[in-house]
């Protein structure tokens, strides 16, 4: 069994687009999250760089990123992502739609990274790669794009895992209990349960860190092991969404799995 490049790219695109639809709707449903008085205020964040703060470049960028115009960009990103799911691939319209999602995501990041997370970064990397491949849709470009997305995902898992494995607080389980104890990313019942079952917390934490760091082994193990790695990934991200509220990571990371499947099954 193998995955052809067109199928691999299409699945990456569709899953990532669903994530973009959800995150765009979340912003449009609460426009005040990005207004001038918000914690993501453009009139203040533009002061962080001379290009944004004043002059012709500042005025031009401000016209695009200011409130409420930024909502127009988010809406455009939403429509482009919906069309990517609905329309067939190929042709200039496809390139344009991929470019709009990549550009819309980069505009949000350019505005401020405060309030954004790793899923936004991976979405930008994924759509920029897909757009580059779509501009020059050769067989080699498609293979390069899928390899690149797969390797970025493995780098992400390895980095997150290795920094946890080598962290004293993750290795003794206290970091896991600590994060779960927060209102921001936690779950009160689970935190209390882990707090009274320290040994279980310790081993859950070690298992969680080690499995994250070991994920890149998917590229080296026999192809028959692929489903186990991918099921682990889906369960891991679904758990983080349920327990920590990190819903955007599910789409951003699972979108890279067709690329990983292509690389493993090629």
């Amino acid at each position: 069994m193998n995955v052809d490049t067109a199928t691999g790219l299409r699945f990456v695109e569709v899953i990532a687009s669903v994530g973009v639809v959800v995150s765009s709707l979340e912003l449009l449903a609460r426009p005040r999250l990005v207004d001038d008085a918000s914690l993501m205020s453009w009139p203040v964040f533009r002061l962080r760089h001379p290009w944004f703060a004043g002059g012709a470049s500042g005025a031009a960028i401000g016209r695009v990123l200011g409130f409420p115009r930024i909502l127009g960009i988010v809406a455009l990103r939403l429509v482009a992502a919906l069309l990517l799911v609905a329309l067939p691939t190929g042709g200039p319209v496809h390139v344009l739609l991929l470019g709009l999602v990549a550009l819309g995501t980069s505009m949000l990041i350019l505005r401020t990274t405060f309030g954004l997370d790793g899923a936004d970064q991976l979405v930008l990397i994924t759509f920029t790669t897909l757009a580059l491949v779509a501009v020059h849709p050769s067989a080699v470009a498609a293979r390069l794009g899928l390899w690149f997305i797969a390797l970025q995902a493995c780098l992400a898992y390895f980095t997150a895992g290795i920094y946890k494995v080598t962290s004293r607080t993750w290795w003794d389980g206290s970091a896991l209990t600590g994060v779960l104890g927060t209102l921001s990313y936690g779950n009160r019942s689970l935190a209390r349960w882990f707090d009274s079952h320290r040994r279980t917390a310790l081993w859950c934490s070690r298992l969680f860190c080690a499995s994250e760091a070991a994920f890149p082994l998917v590229l080296l193990c026999p192809a028959g092991w692929l489903p186990y790695f991918l099921v682990w990934g889906v369960v891991f991200h679904a758990s983080c969404a349920i327990i920590m509220g990190l819903n955007d990571f599910v789409w951003a990371f699972v979108a890279t799995y067709p690329a990983i499947a292509y690389v493993v099954l090629r």
């Binding site: 979340e26 008085a37 350019l110 790793g118 930008l124 962290s167 927060t182 209102l183 936690g186």
Partner: protein, 170 residues
Amino acid sequence: MDVALGVLLGVWLVVSAVAQLEVIKPGVSRVRRLDLFSLVPQYNFFAPRPGTKDFHLMVRATTSSGEFGRWRELSPLPHRAWWNCLWNPARRPRKALFDLATTLAKESQAVSRTAVQVSVSYLVLLNHVSTAARLQAPARVQFLLAVSNGTCSTEPPRALFISHVHEVER
């Protein structure tokens, strides 16, 4: 064209990998300073030291008598609902407050109390509280960042950073 794309993606991947050393060797990736679009990712999610505290943004303003009123919390962190695994718009302001609080805490240790007032994180918070305080007339406002130890702790939140008093016109 294939070669150009290969070189581009190859360089991007190598730069991304080197940039992950930033956590243990600050300054290793000078590219990040120029990377306004965050094309060079930072993948050390929740590691090596995850946030195990909650931040609370408090504000107080002077009343018509000129005296400061009580501290009140702006947008207290809501408890999450079951559907937040699918739909979670509150994660962005929550993460923004976390990013602002951690940045301001670092900046306040690195620069003087006067200089920190012109940092972007300070100005964002001041701008936010000045609007949220819903002042009816010119008044003075002050904000406070408090930190609590999470839901398992019985300790009360403690002050992490207290701003100067600022005159705000309406």
